[in-house]
């Protein structure tokens, strides 16, 4: 069973599998993103209290979700590298860092743009915001650490350990609105319970979250392909059909 999984995680098999998936992912992204944007900006009714200002939710929540998701992917890759020596793991980590940092920054920025009209402030040292800011610093630290160390093999191992240590911030961010008395609202989306927002607002939000996930997959796969083909000089893979 493990040898089957491992064979799919081989760089070559990964390259050919994801290369076939790319057009489908791109088509699905265009569909979900279009629906999310149109649904969020036009179809969803204005909020009773926040008016049209609430429409920032359609980009703020996906960015925040991606910031946590990408770190989770990096942590999983780190674990895979340390325990199973997966060859793709360092690539997944390296190509995810800038995306994760970007989405974390955008979550903070869009949150500020939402907070100013609603809370009357651009920033507050609230549990959710502070832990998200710490996540941003974690991403920056990982990026700088990766760039600084010269010894590649040692670099990858130390980086993986660093990522796993930083993973403690992820559940803190998620549960911060329950553990502490925060200004930030609680979760609107629940996996095990009905959502607290109306379906007309919910469906475009879910579509945008899916669109952002697809976007991450598309960009990540494209970058890993580049790394495998261009840097690792596997030009012949481009001509092979599998």
């Amino acid at each position: 069973m493990w040898s089957l999984i491992n064979s799919f995680l081989s760089p070559k098999k990964f390259f050919f599998l994801t290369r076939q998936l790319q057009p489908w992912l791109q088509a699905l992204f265009i569909f979900t993103f279009s629906y999310g944007i149109i649904g969020g900006l036009i179809l969803a009714p204005a909020d009773n209290i926040q008016g049209d200002g609430f429409r920032i939710i359609y980009i703020h929540v996906p960015c925040a979700f991606l910031s946590l998701f990408i770190y989770g992917v990096m942590a999983l890759a780190a674990l895979g590298f340390l325990v199973f020596r997966l060859k793709l793991a360092p690539l997944i980590i390296r190509e995810s860092i800038t995306l994760g940092a970007g989405f974390t920054f955008l979550a903070l920025l869009t949150g500020s743009l939402w907070g100013k009209p609603m809370w009357g402030t651009w920033w507050i040292w609230d549990a959710r915001l502070t832990s998200e800011l710490i996540l941003f610093f974690l991403y920056l630290g990982i990026y700088l650490f990766q760039s600084a160390l010269a010894d590649k093999q040692k670099n990858e191992r130390v980086l993986a350990i660093l990522i796993l240590i930083g993973f403690i911030d992820i559940p803190i961010i998620h549960y911060s609105v329950y553990w502490w008395n925060t200004l930030h609202q609680g979760s609107s989306l629940n996996i095990f319970a009905p959502s607290t927002i109306d379906k007309s607002m919910l469906y475009p939000l879910l579509a945008m979250i899916v669109a952002f996930l697809l976007y991450y997959a598309i960009i990540l796969f494209s970058r890993i392909h580049y790394e495998l083909i261009a840097r690792r000089v596997n030009f012949h893979w481009l001509k092979e059909q599998k």
């Binding site: 900006l41 036009i42 204005a46 008016g51 049209d52 200002g53 429409r55 920032i56 980009i59 703020h60 960015c63 800038t98 995306l99 970007g102 955008l106 920025l109 869009t110 743009l113 939402w114 100013k116 009209p117 976007y215 960009i219 494209s222 970058r223 580049y226 083909i229 261009a230 030009f235 481009l238 001509k239």
Partner: protein
């Protein structure tokens, strides 16, 4: 029609915040995609025999 468009862009008075947020996110998405595409374009330009 113009009134509808005006209402849409004003977003109930929150237009600056909403459109700034969307602009930042869309710019980031476009940039990340553009950088990735440009990397590949440069690669193909430097390795033209691969296109044959």
């Amino acid at each position: 029609m113009m009134t509808l468009l005006q209402q849409f862009f004003s977003m109930g008075g929150y237009g600056f915040y909403v459109w700034s947020a969307y602009a930042c996110v869309l710019t980031f998405l476009f940039l990340q995609w553009g950088l990735t595409v440009r990397r590949w374009q440069r690669f193909y330009k430097q390795n033209e025999p691969l296109n044959e």
